[in-house]
């Protein structure tokens, strides 16, 4: 794993470790949401919601754009796919480990 990818993974885990951020992401995955509309779903301030949205954006899981007086947020599908690839990477490492053991045993049999 490249160092940049590791940093990225760290950012994902941090961004997703919060229940409100996961809920924001879920809503922004269904459809683009204005940040002010998102904020009405939670018993926290608009500023706090803006911070959560910014954290998700830094992690590459969500994108923001301005539309008039509103900030719109939508989930970044590519970012989510990248997170899924991390999982595949973990599985691949397991497979490789097992293949290496098999090779080591094979080399002894010869």
């Amino acid at each position: 794993m490249q160092e940049g990818e590791e940093d990225q993974a760290d950012a994902w885990f941090r961004a997703l470790s919060d229940r409100t951020r996961r809920d924001i992401l879920r809503r922004a995955l269904a459809e683009e949401q204005s940040v002010s509309a998102l904020a009405r779903n939670y018993p926290i301030s608009l500023t706090a919601v803006q911070k959560h949205v910014a954290a998700l954006e830094r992690a590459g899981l969500l994108r923001r754009r301005r539309s008039g007086r509103e900030t719109l947020a939508r989930a970044d599908v590519d970012g989510l796919r990248a997170a899924a690839r991390l999982l595949e990477e973990l599985e691949r490492r397991g497979r490789e480990h097992i293949d290496r053991i098999d090779e080591l045993l094979d080399s002894e049999g010869e």
Partner: protein, 160 residues
């Protein structure tokens, strides 16, 4: 291919990989018990592992680094939990700092490796349980299926 099965259990946050090796249980155990053999089988392709400390006893630490194509080092560690030689051992797997002290900022998984005799070979079961971080759960749930619709349903189920 020695891998015989891979299953994901999202509720338990585990990936279970089952393999069959053409060698007895004791021989498989030796690979983990010997740092020079372990480093031959650890680390992804292109990232050879070097085992530094190796104390395969409960509470012991196994530290290693993987060397990337540019010579960069990626240190990691195992914190050994339980050992039942030669049948099973478990450990926490994580990233380490340059001096091999555990980096608890990054996610840690817990791995249980179990070896049982299977005819003249060994059936090995590797169960990896991901860190008890809700974020990792979410990543797992998102990773199961292609497509945003199914990912959304997964997250819905998670949050409901």
């Amino acid at each position: 291919m020695p891998v015989t099965d891979i299953t994901h259990d999202l509720d338990a946050r585990t990936i279970t990989i089952t393999a069959r090796f053409a060698a007895p249980v004791e021989r498989i155990w030796q690979i983990y018990a010997d740092p020079r053999q372990l480093e031959q089988v650890w680390g992804p392709e292109g990232y050879p592992a070097t085992v530094v400390d190796h104390d395969l006893r409960p509470g012991g630490l196994v530290t290693y680094y993987m060397t990337g194509p540019e010579g960069e080092r990626f240190p990691g560690y195992w914190k050994v939990l339980e050992v039942d030689e030669p049948r099973s051992f478990s450990y926490e797997d994580g990233f380490a700092h340059e001096d091999f002290t555990p980096n608890t900022e990054l996610p840690v998984s817990t791995c249980v490796s179990t070896f049982t005799a299977d005819g003249d070979g060994t059936r090995a079961v590797y169960v990896t349980t991901f860190a008890d971080r809700e974020g990792l759960q979410t990543v797992l749930d998102m990773g199961v299926e292609e497509g945003t619709r199914s990912a959304m349903n997964q997250i819905d189920a998670l949050i409901a």
